[in-house]
Symmetry: C5
Subunit: 323 residues, 5 copies
């Protein structure tokens, strides 16, 4: 079986082996740092945009765990023999665990982006379901082509399943760009710009993956190619998860501040971005006060924010709208 | 002992082995993500429905841990020899750890569902105790039939204990459907619809397990059958725990919003579902204010929500009802 | 050394081995679930009864960790040879780690029970110290008899140290029953009934342990006896820690609601038990308001709750009692 | 190298080996329980005394981790051969990891004690720095004498470095006793008594360590001596960290209650110690109210608590004192 | 390959080996303690300076994890043969994992420092981006020179890449000193002094790393040199992360107190530093009150704090400034 080298089964010289170790561990550390940050900063964002931060937290946790698996396999998958690292059976598992991570995190990335867009209600739920499904199928079909069918060594299978995967990417591209475009007008200039940047980072780095996927189609993978693939995947993961997440977090904070300033929501902490205060802290009214000011409070529902809500579903969308 | 292959002890080709690894790790990642989400979103739900979120959290934690055990056993239970994965002694433990997980999580799943239904007081406690017991026995009897008695290789034992297990399933089906039906009228349309969907997902996926359990009764298990069993179990676990949990979480949020809007409870954050606001944030009254408004506050106990409370137990069910 | 089989060193058939694995892992999962629940529900209970929940949390954490050790030793302590599991050196450590767990958790269990009783002040501290010490010595003497002296294979040592251990149990029984009886009148009917049930569960399951301890005194331990011992210990641990803890948690919530309703304490969340509301949420007064209402607030100290407080210690027991 | 047995390299009979395992694991469990308790009870203490609880938390976390290392080394460092446990190379690391733990935790213990004393400002910072440095050097010199220089087998080095270490202990003794004595008058009777007890427990158990350190100077270490050393170290660690910590926690709670009662601080929860209420919950004033009552609020700074503050540093020590 | 000893591959005598173990584990424990402290003290700092504490938390978490890797490699990378520790293949990984840690933590250290400076808005974002990039490149180039190119055994490569790395250090030095100088006047004396000290600690310890890096350029590395390098790196890491972090935390607390005292922000807890109170606790106004006092609140934006904000970006920087 080892006579036809798969991409993972390279005899690595010391420098390249250490470089890949560096890339995997550094990416894992960055994701772990982002995990710690997300866990401890959910409260900075209003409950309306909280799903974005929670998606980022889940993404960071799963990806950090996945890099732990990758590191373990990379660390134990090669034996130092005669000054070079030779692959053993564990080395088979130094690339494809990435697909398992992506199967969970890429759908969550689309949910993270949509959670700071302005699409609401049943329309939001439908779009979220469709994009998360497309994202999952994009990864699953890539996995089938590169690992399951003929162990990824059949160029035809690679190409066919790669194209199917790309079709899902195309849908994602259109659907997410559309959602971002439709949302930018309903928020402030700075938030809108950050939202656009976040979408660019996400969809841009998504373009890196098929390039790396296609490497074995076009070249005979050498140790240097394998090192390049690992470094590229690791860098893309950090960019698409941490870089993207930091931008989404900023959008969520800015929109929280906008909601507080517009009286649409309360927030027990002021909102600061880069030492500039965007809204003051506002506590909810206590219950007794609330009863007397209820009518005033309802006028909030006439604000443009709620106008975006999809009214076709049968639920209550205002505080007092149900009997 | 190894001459009569049990279902777990298959010599797996590479593609199928990797596919099962994918299924186990992806399900574990999804459960871990759901664990992180539950841990950090308990506060989004009012304290009345908090037991539902806490049950979901415990389920996610236990199941994620169980998948870690499964992964470890699957990873170390097969040796790559001559291009195929051959099972070793550890491979015996690549299916039955699932029963241990289910023994704890399936009773908690019924508790999670009941926690967002409207049955209250002693009647709720009785129903919860009966359904949790039935759920535990459903799993335990399945475990005895498939693993302990004759090591699951006696078809008669498989069938007999499978049928006993099914009897408990039948009771669960009737009891839970009854509880959901009785509850739907006491909540809003959207919450009721999500509650019904949650029950359908739960009881529907519960139907997958006996089918997989029965596979060794009807066919000689091959590597492909084993892979199918592992993928089916993993997918069903994600659906019955994460999918179900997300629906229950939505019911809990909608009902929290209804309680706040009806004045039955306070909640320090507004409730948003898919960017639509369902209730404003309301703080409790401070102590001094509370004294003066106490009589008004008591009228809450005449609301229909409390009417569902079982009055037969001797405890205080209103704030001021005990002397 | 291996010619006189100690209880732990049995050659286990597959079915019994799997059954013990099931019991150990299921108990560990249940304790881990209870750990997650306790960690995330401390806030449901007023700060007065918080020590009970914190004790439960510590118990759950330590016991879950202890079951991890047990599982590891059980998993690696037997080798599959010729269709049966034969013990190796690690198998010596598949029973006695339980004593280490109990040395920490049983004293905490008595503290958990006392934290929801009505005994207060120096009297509470004295009783807590005595019962925790007795609980520790009950376990330590059992450990010395069953493991350290002649490696638990001297029947005389087993009996003598077993009887000494039982004497501490007798003290615990009397002291805890007394505390519960003295407390029941000072709380509501439902809380009192749950407190009594909790004490019965705790002291009842405590009776299981000496029975299992005495097994090697009366019978030659066989694989089936060992399996029975492991299953009995695991079930008793779940009952005495999780079952007991859930009951204590309910007492703590009901008593929190009683304190809020009586004006003795504030609590930022309402208290719900099985969907029945037992008290409203009440915020503390802000500082400025507090100054003006201080005299009214002090009347709280004349309530019967504080009357139970032991006045002999020199400290301040009221807000304004010290100058 | 193994012909001159170092203290750690004893051939242990079963009973003594199990006893040491018991001592190490039980101490580790107790520290882990204390870790869980500290993590979840920081909020019970006002922010002024919070550093004490945080120090306790760090101590518990580091010590629990250190016992995990100790347990792993003890568990793998001995092989069961012919009915006795024979040490292997790992057994060298079954005593000295304790010094690593102490290098971090003993300085933190002095910080924990000082955080509930009344010394404030620059004087507090100076004293803290000096005592933490002395505590670190006390441990480091002990480590050099017992492990690094001649591997702890040179009696002269043991004695000389032991005496140097003792000199730092003497400084600590004087400095900490002085701080406690100076503080007792500024707090209530019960808090003062607990503070004195905490100091006694800490400095008393500190005396156990040099005794154990000196064992190899005076006797030929036998298995029983080694077991005694391990049990003594483990018991002293539990006493000096958990026992001491519980007393400090009580002081911190009582002083929090005193500050709230005196109007020096607010605290969102009431303070209860052993079911006796020591202060009511008091919320801060909201911002608008604060503006109008600011002058009244400032009078707090004339209270005796602040009088202890060191005024020589250039910073603002009152809310409005800086322009 | 092993005939030209790289710095890591030394045969270590017992005393030096234990000393390095001590240094690595002690530094790891200190970082873990700081991690626990940061996690549980984020709330002590206002949301404006929260990024500093969160950066510290991420740094502590990543560095503690990195020391776990280092310890594992050091512990397993040497075999005790004939009374000395001889390196095996794992020993290659006992120095360079430090570079992975630094690649993530050093950029975060610059962010931590800037988060308590007074530079705001787009200017802050630009400076942060530039310094974080320079910090990353400073480490990456050092890693390439010392590990990847000719495995760090080419003196020319060491020198060239070391100089490139130093150039980035020079930029960092200038940029960070500039930011600190520009900020000191906008805060109180005590905060400013602590900020200066923090910068000195950070930039001072940064100077230690190139010295250690240059050791193999100037000397033939011996066991004593290797031990010195490990001890120096470990001590510098503790100083630059924990010592620096404690100073930054103090600045953040003092500035929080200043903001509360100046009415720029609210904070639900009072701020105490070394038992001296620097500000009272102030709650935000409730929503209804907020509406009536909004104009007064806006005057805050005329305070000098906001004057530092960069106004060139298009976003809202005040509560009501956007329409």
């Amino acid at each position: 079986m080892f006579d036809t080298p798969t991409p993972e089964l390279q005899t690595m010289p010391l420098g390249l082996y250490d470089l890949v170790t560096y890339a995997i561990v550094a990416a894992g550390f960055a994701l772990f740092a982002y995990f710690l940050y997300s866990w401890n900063s959910t409260g900075e964002v209003g409950v309306r945009y909280r799903p974005a931060v929670l998606a980022g937290l889940c993404i960071a946790g799963v990806a950090a765990l996945s890099y732990l698996v990758l590191y373990t396999k990379w660390d134990t998958g090669f034996d130092l023999v005669g000054g070079v690292y030779e692959p053993n059976a564990e080395a088979r598992s130094t690339l494809y665990p990435r697909y398992v991570d992506w199967s969970v995190t890429v759908p969550l990335l689309t949910a993270e982006l949509l959670a700071v867009c302005s699409i609401a209600g049943a329309r939001a739920r439908g779009l979220r379901l469709r994009t998360m499904t497309a994202a999952f199928l994009m990864i699953l079909t890539g996995f089938l082509g590169s690992q399951v069918l003929a162990q990824g060594r059949d160029v035809t299978a690679l190409v066919v399943w790669g194209l199917i995967s790309t079709a899902f990417y195309a849908y994602l591209y259109v659907a997410l760009i559309g959602a971002v475009r439709a949302s930018m007008s309903s928020m402030g200039v700075e938030a809108g710009r950050s939202l656009r940047n976040a979408a660019l980072v996400l969809l841009g780095t998504f373009g890196v993956y098929p390039l790396v996927y296609a490497v074995p189609v076009f070249v005979d993978v050498t140790p240097a190619w394998l090192a390049g693939m690992q470094v590229a995947y690791s860098a893309a993961d950090v960019l698409a998860k941490v870089g993207f997440g930091v931008l989404v977090h900023k959008v969520a904070k800015l929109r929280t501040a906008e909601d507080v300033a517009a009286g649409v929501d309360t927030h027990p902490e002021s909102v600061w971005v880069s030492s500039v205060r965007h809204s003051e802290a506002v506590l909810p009214d206590p219950r007794s006060e609330h009863r007397t000011t209820r009518f005033a409070g309802n006028t909030v529902d006439d604000a443009p924010v709620s106008a975006a809500a999809d009214a076709r579903h049968g639920a209550t969308r205002t505080t007092t709208g149900r009997s």
